[in-house]
Amino acid sequence: MENASLHFQQKVRWHPLEIVFWLCTLLPFVVTPSYLSLASQIAITALFALSLDLILGYAGIVSLGHAAFFGVGAYTAGLLAKHYWAEPLTGLVLAAVLSGLVGYALSHVVVRFRHLALIMLTMGFGLLLHEAANSASALTGGADGLQGFKVPAVLGFKFDMFGRAAYAYSLVVLFLCFLVARRIIHSPFGLALRGIRENATRMPAIGAPSRAHLRKAYTIAAVLAGIAGALLTHTTSTVSLETLSFGRSADVLVILILGGAGRLYGGIIGAIIYMVARDQFSGANPQYWYFWIGLLLVAVVMFLPNGILGGIGALYKKSK
């Protein structure tokens, strides 16, 4: 028992590099003030990738339909702002609750399957929601997306064209969610998830209920993804059908793998690299941008099996 609590204490302690990293996230305010709206997009994507990391990196559930929860959160926040009130924090909570409920409902199905059937089912649910939102155009605006509402401010800070409030808002929410995720990962529950990832049949034998744990993790991930979606709605004041698309599910998977899954910071690093590179290279022809992403993916799989963070970690170990 003594050893176990010591293990958790050591794991939970903040590494100096982590503190430096979070301080660096404040830099865009001073260094690149003209790129603040990009910075808030990055923070939102990072949160989305973090939520996928919880189920993919830690619990080992491969999902090709994670955008479903992002979209549910985005549409919840958008509909609330359009038809009722534009106060964002309550929208955030409601989006979290609703996407969590959808995630909880789906988790009962998802945890029963593995391998290809799992990938196909998550993809199928994502596509179903996408089609449903597309068809219910009276509610969601269909392919045009949800428009005609404005989220003016959060806690009295106005969302202006410079994106200062938007970035501060996204960053604070990302940081709070990160704290929650970090706490979960370093708890006994987080350890049990990793055990299930490594061997799903052995864990129940030592008293950890695999499916109940996986359901819980899946629901938590859905909540975080929903929050990310709501953030996007609040900072852009529109919801597009693209928030539910297969492309977004694939993108976030790419981002997480690029950064390194199962490392907590992987999704954030991946989001920074991916979004900045897309901003710089995509330009007028977004379809050519995918050439480079494809090349990067092939290279990561062939040469950096644990993503960029994994590669750096290996280098660091070698040098010691």
Binding site: L56, F113, L116, G124, S135, V254, I257, G294, L297, V301
Partner: protein, 287 residues
């Protein structure tokens, strides 16, 4: 009502044949060799663009380009198998997924660069246009052609795999690698050949589908979902299963478009999710 039902069945069956050609190769490589090749539809795209180029640039007749579509896609799959895929045969599902998604992205961008993103079309010979009228119903000639080709390919494929010596070697190699190696079968070559065959058939499907659905660089992604549905629902590695699943999918997609157009693609996704929840190993899956 009855004639529209027959029309839907006929069109759906023809569409199913197309889906079968596109997906049978993936069913084999995914089911028997355990390789999640999401770039399968990129092979189909290679075949489609080969036909397009030969017809519009070199003026070949449509039928003559079909074997070339097969060969082009088979060659590309051999190159990829030799250079990239074989190194990941033992890697995790996720790694294989990611590598092949990367290849899809590259192929989409590359074809957009060379052929623009516009939808391309070809002109099939006159005898494939128009339609035949039987008992007050009309059957499009091209769709009949699709059905004939699809059935012929299925028959050839089964004959080849079940009756020839090389087919027996391929089956042995994919069923039990170690045992086959022990018996002196060149498993590497069998795998390469299987990949080439699957890729080639996809290429043929891609070439045949231009007339029906057009061709643009997003083909590799747009049809991936359909192909995966066929494979997952049909059951991995089962040619008969893929055939049945392709026909079911083709007909339900056509019926959905005809009777419930407002549902869009909702219906086939629902069919897929339902079937997978009912039988996760597919309709004819063994494992």
């Amino acid at each position: 009502m009855l004639s529209s039902l027959a029309g839907v069945l006929f069109d759906g069956f023809a569409y199913g044949m197309l889906l079968f050609l596109l997906s049978v190769g993936l069913s084999v490589t995914l089911g028997m060799m355990n390789f999640v090749n999401l770039a399968h539809c990129s092979f189909a795209m290679v075949g489609g663009y080969a036909t397009l180029s030969l017809m519009t640039k070199s003026g070949w007749p449509f039928l003559a380009t079909l074997p070339m579509a097969f060969v082009a896609a088979a060659l590309v799959s051999i190159v990829l198998e030799r250079t990239l895929y074989r190194r990941l045969y033992r890697a995790s599902d996720l790694d294989q997924c990611l590598l092949t998604i990367g290849i899809v992205f590259i192929s989409v961008a590359a074809y957009a660069w060379f052929y623009t993103t516009e939808q391309q079309s070809i002109r099939v010979p006159d005898w494939l246009q128009g339609s035949a009228h039987v008992a007050g119903m009309s059957f499009a000639s091209y769709r009949m052609f699709l059905i004939v080709v699809g059935l012929a390919v299925t028959a050839l494929l089964i004959l080849f795999l079940e009756k020839t010596r090389f087919g027996a070697r391929v089956r042995a190699a994919v069923d039990n690698q170690r045992m086959a190696r022990g018996l002196g079968i060149d498993v590497d070559r069998a795998f390469m050949f299987t990949f080439a065959l699957g890729g080639g058939l996809a290429g043929l499907g891609g070439a045949l589908s231009i007339q029906v659905v057009g061709l643009d660089p997003t083909f590799a992604l747009a049809y991936l979902v359909y192909v995966l549905i066929v494979v997952a629902v049909g059951g991995l590695g089962s040619i008969g299963g893929s055939f049945a699943a392709a026909v079911v999918l083709g007909i339900s997609d056509m019926a959905g478009k005809y009777y419930f157009p407002w549902l869009g693609a909702f219906l086939i996704y629902l069919v897929m999710v339902g079937l997978l929840m009912w039988r996760p190993q597919g309709l004819f899956g063994k494992r």
